[in-house]
Subunit: 279 residues, 2 copies
Amino acid sequence: MKIYLDCYLCLLRQGLTAVRRAGLSENNQLAVINGVLQALQQLQPGQTPPVIATQIHQVIQETTGIPDPYLELKQRSTQKALALYPRLKEIIAAADDPFETAVRLGIAGNIIDFGPADDYDLWASVERVLAEPLAFNDLPELRQAVDRANEVLFLSDNAGETVFDRVLIEQIGSPVRYAVKSGPILNDATRADAVAAGIDQVAEIVEIGCDALGTLLERCDEEFVQLFHAAPVIVAKGMGHYESLSSEGPRLFFLLQAKCNVVASDLGVPLRSLVVKQG
Amino acid sequence: MKIYLDCYLCLLRQGLTAVRRAGLSENNQLAVINGVLQALQQLQPGQTPPVIATQIHQVIQETTGIPDPYLELKQRSTQKALALYPRLKEIIAAADDPFETAVRLGIAGNIIDFGPADDYDLWASVERVLAEPLAFNDLPELRQAVDRANEVLFLSDNAGETVFDRVLIEQIGSPVRYAVKSGPILNDATRADAVAAGIDQVAEIVEIGCDALGTLLERCDEEFVQLFHAAPVIVAKGMGHYESLSSEGPRLFFLLQAKCNVVASDLGVPLRSLVVKQG
């Protein structure tokens, strides 16, 4: 997905939230924000929002000297989600269609966000996602693709959401590789976050070889890029993957909540829509 | 008032709203927004938000070649406010304290805004402002100052708000000079907007000698600056004047609604507070 002018506003807002969350001094806040302003001015045509968002969060990490400013928030998100795990499993056990319900719970977990939409109610999201129709419903295609595939590559999004991913993975028959960031960026899941959610019990955790938001293939390592190109089915969670991989073809299935106007309008759905979309 | 980092976000948002309202092509939108980003980066310490907001709107006027992109909106605002004028006069006629009620109506009209807070309900504002306590209540000082003064300088804000100003001026015993912008900028009142509101029937309209937002004295002409310095009492409507004149001393009385978090927090009041504050 290309970057829109509204993304500029959102990226500046994310930068502001992040420098404050990182507890930077006023001068350092200004330095980072000036860096964001400059990066926005230097955007090249065709660059996607995750490119610049990654840059913002890396500048913050460098300026603060804190490699993982979201560590505590991520741990808390995972704990909160783990506390819901037994209830999520009960919902699956009682479901007429456990796979659809698991997909929906995966989408419910996508409400966890400290970037574009960092004000959320996790259980309200579960209730809403179980009740509402999908604005994009490529669920039949996803079901068929997953049933036929001998393996599934799963692109993770945020820490805490990982617990919901685990519930979904437990309903996928084939072996799953669960791709995480190789280093901390925003509240995206790393190996440690995936393990804390118990993903290692249900999938093979693989690293993408970089710590960029979304999946910027040009920054991932060769091993992951090969995995990516060889995977018969790829489940991609959240807006960041859609923003960076929307043109990568029908092997991809984007599972997300359209939490910002730009992604919603690029998809042609109302804000807050629930999406299962084949690439 | 100094500029805060939150102002950056608001100014970028105002720029985005304005380029869209002006109907610029995507390329021209990008050019203006890049200009905004650059201007924000080049901000000097001590500059106030109206300086940069003025710059943004001037770039838009130049890029579009439309000298007054808000003309129609201003005319509509004035028409809507004029339609309320008889009801406002009835409220004054029935008031126990017509002067306080007129001051409150003046503040009610300050809800009209196409800059920081361009989504408003005019009549709801009237009802709220008549009922709610003032967060800053220098009304006794204002009353005394106006009673003692042989003339009052009134710094106008937005077109449409002008009608509410007229109601207030009609309750001020002394002669009033009503200062307007010398040229169009955002939806600020010009002479034409003031005349359309009937201000010429109740005050002498004077121009400030420039078309900058708020009152940037260094840009006003000598005639106005002399008027400003000689005035025994100055009533300044809206946030822009507070942002540019907050350190100009006790002759000034700021009448405003704190429509943005930055001004509210600079004043030490909750967002949406009603303010009568002596400088």
